[in-house]
Subunit: 327 residues, 2 copies
């Protein structure tokens, strides 16, 4: 008798939980989901001021994307606009706030994909481009290639008339101290995965995704993570969904994470939330941590992660913003 009541009460709790979750993840007519990186982000280690600054940064990026979408602009423009805001914010590991490599330089990676055409652009190893996401988009639109690298990519940037910044632009005291700390206790992979990303659905029903990062603190040997890899860190197709990832890049490459979410939807008919969670679970099983954001063509979205936190936020067709950091 007790057992029966307990089970019934438990079912009611579960039902309430799933209703709440459903209400929370209402599909958007159009809108955007962004992330500012996943990793060891715990309430007890955050000051109120620091938390507030991160929230404000995410909201600013969401508004930049929304301004585009509301006017009937493309998801591609919205993704680029939101990521530029995050790249210009020193709090996030992309653009201005990029972490330092082992050699004390900053090397930035980014990629973007258009779900309507399956066109894509990616850049890796940039040292002097303020907004890598915009260069990735130029690669997609103005070159016959998908991926350009290092000095070659910067030569292309020069040809396109993109303004260059000095490496000093990317200097931030916090990141520099992170490098010193990492160098004095090497071995482990970085436990804080800074990367920023955005996925959007526009009023015309088109999907787009983009990702930008400074990579891993103390990275060596020209290491390339998942962020500039189409299929791993970024993917978008109007058939299925738009995805941007953040986490232990090596595991995201090996699991082809961004495309795997799409493949599960396409080939198994799985909804975006289930597909996204399944793939993050696969990453976890392999030993990797991180998260992803995904939105489908009906405006359903997912933001699963297996780390202690992920900076993330959404804005819907009404302009309603939701920002979260912890579990």
């Amino acid at each position: 008798m007790f057992r029966f009541h307990f089970a019934a009460a438990f079912s009611v709790l579960l039902l309430a939980g799933s209703l709440a979750a459903e209400e929370k993840n209402q599909p958007m007519k159009f809108g955007m989901v962004i992330h500012g990186g996943a990793g060891t982000i715990e309430r007890r280690n955050m000051t109120a001021a620091n938390e507030e600054a991160h929230r404000a940064g995410l909201e600013q990026a969401l508004r930049a994307g929304y301004d585009v979408l509301k006017k009937g602009g493309s998801s591609l423009d919205a993704v680029e606009a939101a990521i530029r805001v995050l790249e210009d914010n020193p709090l996030f590991n992309a653009g201005k706030g990029a972490v330092f490599t082992h050699e004390g330089t900053n090397e930035l990676d980014s990629s973007i994909m258009d779900g309507r055409t399956l066109k894509a652009g990616a850049v890796a190893g940039l040292q002097h481009v303020r907004n890598p996401i915009s260069l990735a988009r130029l690669v997609m639109e103005k070159s016959p290639h998908v991926m350009l690298d290092g000095e070659g990519a910067e030569a292309f940037a020069k040809k396109m008339g993109i303004p260059f910044v000095d490496q000093k632009y990317f200097y931030t005291e916090d990141r520099w101290q992170e490098l010193q700390k990492k160098k004095s206790s090497p071995g482990a992979l970085s436990d804080k995965h800074g990367t920023v990303g955005a996925v959007a659905l526009d009023q015309a029903g088109n999907l787009a995704a983009g990702t930008s990062t400074g990579g891993m603190t103390n990275k060596e040997f020209g290491r390339i993570g998942d962020s500039p890899i189409i299929g791993a860190g970024t993917y978008a197709s109007n058939r299925t969904c738009a995805v941007s990832c953040t986490g232990d890049g090596e595991f995201f490459i090996r699991e082809v994470v961004a495309y795997d979410v799409s493949a599960l939807m396409d080939y198994k008919g799985v909804p975006v939330q289930e597909a996204a969670q399944t793939v993050i679970d696969k990453v976890g099983k392999l030993g990797g941590t991180g998260g992803l954001i995904a939105i489908d063509k009906q405006g359903n979205f997912a933001m699963p992660f297996n780390s202690s936190g992920m900076y993330r936020g959404t804005i819907d067709a009404a302009g309603k913003i939701s920002v979260e950091i912890y579990r």
Copy 2:
């Protein structure tokens, strides 16, 4: 009446065709499939001597892989051994025979993946490494990373004690002339996709895949194609299959080709031949040309391509070699 007979006769023809195809693609207990690139390869443009040299090169690579597999060696060792032979052969666009970039340099890319562990290694933009496939393997086994690039990758190679070669090592008169021709008629993407690759199934039932290339003649701006991209040019998982691609790299990245073959098998239960053909058809629909080789854990294999030819060959458990070039 006529219709009936015609239909019956047609059915018999179809049946005979599929039986022949089945006989030809008998599953192997263990074995290997390789390619030496797909593209505009037509009988009328080939001299007998040139054709014979290509066939001999493919056979030599197949034997190198088979020597490993027959002794009970791993599919990973077999893939590396076969690709090293192709990299050392000036006829194929990888290693020694790498094409020239716009700047007149040679920049080599490669990747390898272990189907048993899903571990992977990749290198891009190498200028002084004789056998990029072996460096990709060292990245997989001796670094925490999957992908290393350019000078950083070469610094890692030095640390690993890999012998360096001068850029002159990669000079071949034929490739140099190709560059001059390309420079005088620019615009179109290369119509001959040199890349080499191998996939193998060993006696323990493990799968592996590898790919190596000099990229596109006249490539600019540090262009990276699909060959060093896990998921695009190379993928292997014991759950499904091992795949190596060759073709218009940009389209193979956008379609996440190598992993897509695996995803179709995994999520739709499609056999390897159908999955491989489906994905090459998708590439064609998007406007790309090329081909791929794939082998599954039962030793079933496929070698579809949508160009006029693809250098390709197989060796089965009995050591029986088959080499083909044209349709």
